[in-house]
Subunit: 335 residues, 4 copies
């Protein structure tokens, strides 16, 4: 309550709180009175936050976090998500690698061969590309999805690709092993809800300005519809710093591991936007406790149709895998 | 080029640049050599930015902004967008007002009566609500759209409502006069492209972490598909400041007016998240040159099913309109 | 407390809280138990936040804001700060204008004449300049202070200049009427405390990443030492947006006016970094309720030794003053 | 130049550029003309950025970074800074550990014993504390510096403490081995310049909203005065994320190592603000290539007079050191 809230105002709030089926506890301090409200959150209809407009009220402060199915307490041992012949969330790290975009049969197959040889566990490749400009290359679309599937099958790696439009779900579910929700769609609730009605593993990227609690609420949209196969991906947030494309927030890794049972992977390619930072930040992610990595790899980054500056050459990726193995073992994981 | 780039590296870059159909100009400075590339941008396939991975290259810096159809130069006098019997973009300000969410026939009609009486030009109301939590009230959906339409017709105001899912476009186009794209979907390119294929006026909100140039590129997605009826809406960005829900970025108003011919309206309700700041920030928006306002108004904010703390009571809104009129006249506009 | 906190852990926390001279109230909810702590905050020694490391504790959340002398409740009618023959904080707006840096006798006198003629109330000019680079012009220092004093006296305007080093306080107190603390020193507590021991009016700028509550705590450092003459200045914060030099946060104006009795002025020159945005944002600041403006004006901005792009020419400033007057009257103020 | 700049405007810019002793190269593109300016930057008097106010000019874009003495090219092999019997910057990592604040002889000695035993190389402890509130514990000041010195001598560790006020330099230089400049003073140029006139090693923390280029310019202030002994410290930046106290920006580590020869250490205590995240983020910092760590350790964090929630207990710190050793070896470093 405000400093000069009257006794009548306080009693009126108590009445309103009880009407919303919470119990109210009045705590009288030296300067102010606090009304503590206890009860189960039952959705917005009963939300106490609207009391902020009532006379005498200074602020309404929620005490509990709002995610439920994603909470660590639900599965303290942590979730392991199966994707084809790979698994994300166990002691063994999972590395997802491949080109930013599928550009041709030759390109995706060269990438698939290279990442498989270097020890990656899943193959990625974008077929529908969310580009800032409508005049940029938008991806090979349906054909890209099929080329990716064929390339993955050939080398024996499950494939991950991004879905942008609910309209494409059937196609995607048929041809891909895991569907990625990109940063720009991380709060596209229509899309999340529809993915929740499938049982396909979802790789959910954090949005550029998504708080960790909101990130888990986005996962909650998928979980609440019945799909438990969600993997979270930290890929850098937007800050004032312009020297790197994004600011990779590795604090998120150990904090998410405290808060949720869902696996957490890290994408240092988008998280830095500079290929020379990808290896050190991949190692840092593993040291911080990540369950896996998402690395953009391209047979010829200098001619890539999108995000060239952040994609690794195949030999650089192979070196990265060796270094990752050493750090993984130093922190009690394996590759 | 890097400080120690060799002559061979420089010549190789010139070769690559010319291969991409740009002309290359070598400028030799005291410490470094710069290769200036001149030519028309032809989409990502020819993008020079990928040269950043080539040997000897330090950075690739684009000089021109990338929006084209949205650029001021295309229509120096500014666009005026007709929405039913209202117009946004002229000397006369346009005020869009109504509840955050349509909650019932009674509520939306009371709101419609109130905002019409106070002088608003369009009626808003959310039927599909993008909520952070899947457990919060998600809107009245189809029924909400129809209640809004009826309420608008009764008082003679065109109606604006948010679209979240491409699937709902037909319904929305039939029953609403203007479709709002919310902050969380501001880079949902699938949705933007589909809206571009209609001729419905679109109220495009800036995302929480969307740079102004990206905001115009999002508008460009709609314009490029052939729909010229786009109105931009500044609604606050996400910053480190937590005292207000968002940081209303009014710098955006005069800067967008320099860069684009599209009308710019301001939403101080989301931009502040606190009803007591809505009136001063609405006045500030008008003084900064906004073409209109988007104000959340509710007959009974303290029982609202969403965003109660930022919605104005009807009498407060009526007072706001009086103050807006005075400031509008002071800056050579009218209401 | 955490979800699975034991009764022993709860009782131990109660014991610790009471040992710190707070009273403890146990509130048992469905999922969690909350221990509410009531008492007067007595500085860090007794701070409850350290209990966050104790077993069973999930989070410690402070309920009250921590500024005291700056709080609105201390002087509900608002403070008026006298600076020479000017006053900041009344119904009449105060306009502080002048060049970014004092560069020569001719320059500062031309600026003084121009801003006086246009109706400014105080003259500003930097003598000690905080520059990002040690190789940039650092100001005319002592001589600059004296040139400013002379120029102000000649036209009858009190003068404002920035202090960077406690070492210069005596010089500054003698020659200037108001001392500015710049954004980079807004949490330089040594400097603030020393200014608190003078009675000189202080113009305290918000730091680039200072939250409003921290801003008032910085003012509190000055007030707590006995100097009540503090004027707050919003000058733009640092965000992800790079189109403008800073993001002028006008939400701060009405919110600070709610929270504190101290006057609030706005600096649209630094807040935007672009001269073409200065006038619209100055008008917006006045409409939002600012008590004054700080405007950089230079007789010849194109040859200025610092911050040229954001300084107004004298005739543009004169036009700005006319527009400000109109908006001021529209919101019940005068110039 | 702007799209419609006239030939006269272009020629006038060329004239102005040449008058500033740069050479001008006109590059005519399809849509726009660019004037490239080549020459040595000679400080702000000649700065080209002011041309942004000239007719026909759209933007002035600097191409080169502005730090010089800090640039990697100056000492490609990297700097090693000696601090007493320790060294920062070599293959061997340097760990600085100790309490946030010196609180008593017993406390600082217990901390010194503990961190020495666990293998730390330098002892830290704050005597002058920059606190957001003037009512919080401000440190033991002079006495604190002396207690720290004694504690360090006893266990054979050089000591690091924060300097806030130029006034204290003589005291600090006498009693401490390395002086820390805190985040809030990272652009206090008066202080930096004075530290540049000593030869004491300086531990320069990044400010909460300091860009990496500005961070190096702050170091440049010290270097330019003749003191080469600067160590950079990443300690978290301020972003929209509130789940952690700051966002530790580990991207900064490999990027700074590319740009500068100065050693880079990381402070995961402030960088996270939560003791449970300190160990994983310390490991991540080492994996990313940091030259050292700054860790807050307290014999009894739950009774600490400042920053309790982020300080480690002695046994937790000892465990951290073991894990750090393993990761260091995995990336080719030692402890």
């Amino acid at each position: 309550m405000k400093a000069h809230a009257t006794e009548d105002e306080i009693q009126e709030i108590v009445r309103l709180v009880e009407q919303l089926d919470y119990s109210a506890h009045i705590i009288r301090g030296v300067e102010r009175t606090v009304v503590a409200c206890v009860g189960e959150e039952r959705g917005e209809q009963h939300s106490l936050t609207h009391l902020e407009t009532a006379p005498g009220v200074e602020r309404v402060m929620p005490v509990l976090r709002s995610f439920k199915l994603a909470a660590r307490e639900v599965r303290p041992e942590g979730s392991r998500i199966k994707v084809g012949n790979a698994e994300i969330g166990g002691k063994k790290l999972a590395v997802i690698a491949g080109p930013c975009a599928v550009e041709s049969k030759e390109q995706v197959e060269a990438a698939a061969d290279g990442v498989k040889r270097a020890g990656a566990h899943l193959l990625r490749g974008g077929a529908f590309k969310p580009r800032t400009s409508p005049y940029s290359f938008q991806g090979m679309e349906d054909e890209g999805v099929r080329l990716l599937e064929v390339a993955g099958k050939r080398v024996g790696l499950p494939v991950v690709t991004e879905i942008m439009d609910p309209h494409d779900i059937d196609l995607m579910v048929e041809h891909a092993d895991m569907l990625q929700v990109g940063a720009r769609n991380s709060q596209n609730f229509s899309l999340l809800r529809r993915l929740g009605r499938t049982r396909k593993p979802v790789l959910l990227k954090r949005g550029m300005s998504t708080k960790l609690e909101e990130f888990l609420m986005a996962a909650e949209y998928i979980l609440a519809e019945g799909n438990p196969n969600v993997v979270l991906c930290e890929r850098g947030i937007r800050t004032f710093e312009t020297a790197t494309r994004n600011t990779l927030d590795l604090n998120a890794v150990p904090l998410l591991k405290e808060w949720t049972h869902l696996p957490v992977v890290v994408d240092p390619s988008h998280g830095t936007g500079m290929w020379s930072l990808v290896t050190p930040m991949a190692l840092a992610a593993v040291a911080a406790g990540a369950d896996g990595l998402l690395i953009e790899v391209h047979p010829h980054p200098e001619t890539a149709l999108s995000d060239g500056p952040q994609q690794l050459k195949l030999n650089v990726f192979a070196d990265l895998m060796k270094s990752v193995r050493a750090v993984a073992e130093a922190v009690g994981r394996s590759l």
